[in-house]
Symmetry: C2
Subunit: 426 residues, 2 copies
Amino acid sequence: RLYCSSSNATTPPAPTSTSITNLTIANKQQLYITDAVTPGSVFFLPHGTRIFNKLITFMKTQQRQYGFEEVITPLIYRKTLWEKSGHWENYKDDMFRVDGADLEKEAYGLKPMNCPGHCIIFDRLDRSYAELPLRLSDFSSLHRNESSGSLSGLTRVRRFHQDDGHIFCSKDQIKAEITASLKMINEVYSIFKIPGYKLLLSTRPESYIGELSEWNDAEAVLKEVLESTGQEWTINEGDGAFYGPKIDVILKDHTGKEHQAATIQLDFQLPHRFNLKYNSKENGVQLQPIMIHRAVFGSLERFLAILIDHFNGVWPFWLSPRQALIVPVSSNHLEFAKTVKAQLNNDASNAIHDYKFHIDIETRNETVGNKIKEAIKKGYTYIIMIGDKEVESGKIALRKATERKTENLSVEEVRQRFIDLEKSYE
Amino acid sequence: RLYCSSSNATTPPAPTSTSITNLTIANKQQLYITDAVTPGSVFFLPHGTRIFNKLITFMKTQQRQYGFEEVITPLIYRKTLWEKSGHWENYKDDMFRVDGADLEKEAYGLKPMNCPGHCIIFDRLDRSYAELPLRLSDFSSLHRNESSGSLSGLTRVRRFHQDDGHIFCSKDQIKAEITASLKMINEVYSIFKIPGYKLLLSTRPESYIGELSEWNDAEAVLKEVLESTGQEWTINEGDGAFYGPKIDVILKDHTGKEHQAATIQLDFQLPHRFNLKYNSKENGVQLQPIMIHRAVFGSLERFLAILIDHFNGVWPFWLSPRQALIVPVSSNHLEFAKTVKAQLNNDASNAIHDYKFHIDIETRNETVGNKIKEAIKKGYTYIIMIGDKEVESGKIALRKATERKTENLSVEEVRQRFIDLEKSYE
Ligand SMILES: [Zn+2]
Ligand SMILES: [Zn+2]
């Protein structure tokens, strides 16, 4: 079992039909590529990057509501750190070693997890009980040296990103933090309309560290919180990590295959290895915090694969990398099309939080029918038709690519519609 | 001279008094730390991450206006790639080597630049003249194995980030692209109110590749564009890279020391090494694109150091990691303070582009005078006082931390003030 993991690198899904569906859609929509010069690392093309970045922006917005503070931490660390964290002993073969010209003295490891870096941040400053729970978040890329034969699309990779988070808290804060984490998971998954995920509690294994009473208390808290969600949950007796019990969230793809996404793991061990302390309310008394590893998406790459499968390439407007295609009926309407695009995007403004959309103009010399067919194939969410009538009336014809119903709206009304769709995550 | 660099790793500034100023402010404001487990890699603490992320969000907004498309590219690549790009021959000692359990057959290199990865993306798809100029942007972290003795704060590091961009274009598009790049640099630096930067043109060195006529044409274009800016520029005869001429942008810190920030580099070579082609207007005729390497901030870490020096720790509101501190006069006013904070941040909304601010509440049991003194020391931009009068009238007392003038405004007016400041980058 992997020491201190906020993902499931030990039991990843094998290549499946999901990956194949993914690849067809990914190619058609030009979302990402891979290359033999770096097996298991994904190149996100512009349209894939749009989805990836939207997911991260979305998650940062949600995490802010739950009191997380983002940090940016290094990628390479000396062996000393990995010895301290236990990775060198337990996980060395799954890590990439890094060497440089003047590094003969000590090897570096390319990080497979963010936790040790976050422990360094916790440890550096003098911490008070008043700062707890301290919730750090990190979207850094992580590397794990999976065997080349096992690599597959987005679901089993060597380089991936997590919406990683570590909560440093006192014992009596565990319950509230787990409750909040499960609430956040539920809120996020509802927004993506992912049906029926499974909650899985893994309990104390035969070989464990820490006090038995500590384990019993922690498991009791987790069960109590799981019960209070009203959701179905199952137990995996003895399948917890040796350093603490955990809750995993399991999603199904359209073939019924299960994928682990979110995770919440209690950890009594890493704070001990790093000798983390905070000043308690009692003058002069220092206590050790508990650490909770948690991720809501889990691996961003794997979550994206699940979304591609879930939406089957038909993205909701807010996530769509091609939100609208403006189709001028003839070349006479091209100028008006450009004006409409600029207005829909409020191009006059370069403010940081202005709503900007992914809108293209179809400029090829094709029949309108072919242009629409192509737009649907490429995955555009909306089509905006512009002909003589639209130029005259100033109203543009808006339709969903997958529906025949057309609405005639002013440019301002369409912009407001688009803003409302993004605001409500639809 | 470094092959194909969009930064100046060859002539970085040595440790200076600027770094020392930086460190004092960075410690006082808790912006970042470094640690012996990874020399030359910066840990951005929550407040440093706020500034860092704001700079990136800002740059993405600006780049969108200039037609850049972001991509996300891998960090490790096989030796084969670095041989093709010329890095293995010319730059191997400055790169980190990466090894894994089953990687004996071929070494990997941790990328010092994004250019080869972008060439792979250009090369993968069938490219048409209609797609040019293709402008790719990338904010990936980069690693260069600087000697440990030379490392210093944020200005000389082993891990850094760039607002990196590569423009693939035809020869007759060079002039427009360079003009746009210089315009963007000017707009960005104006927003930061950085006074008097220097433009430096480096021309053909004694040892060069490509045609002499190509060089002459390119240098003539660069000179013409520089002249048309109306800004002062100087020439560095023979100091260009062997693959093309370049324009560097030099900033001064408060001690007068110069730092390279933005760069624009023409490259005739890399497209050749990667055998990049696009289909021209003429049926069946393929042409080789020119590549322009450009960065506006340059190294984000170094630019942040320049900003810390430039603002001397007094951040403009939009960049401030501590935008406001709410000071309740007594514990009776704490509840109202919390309501005010929630309203200022529009906590009820979790929309992606809503304006959210960095606002704290001072909860310690101190005199008001001490609370204000502490707020100024920590670098808060605004202070909001809340006492009986404010609770009764619903108007809150807003003052800049560094000024004595107080305004009494409704919460909605303060939120609007904050939004306006962010929108206008003040
Ligand atoms: Zn972790
Ligand atoms: Zn470059």
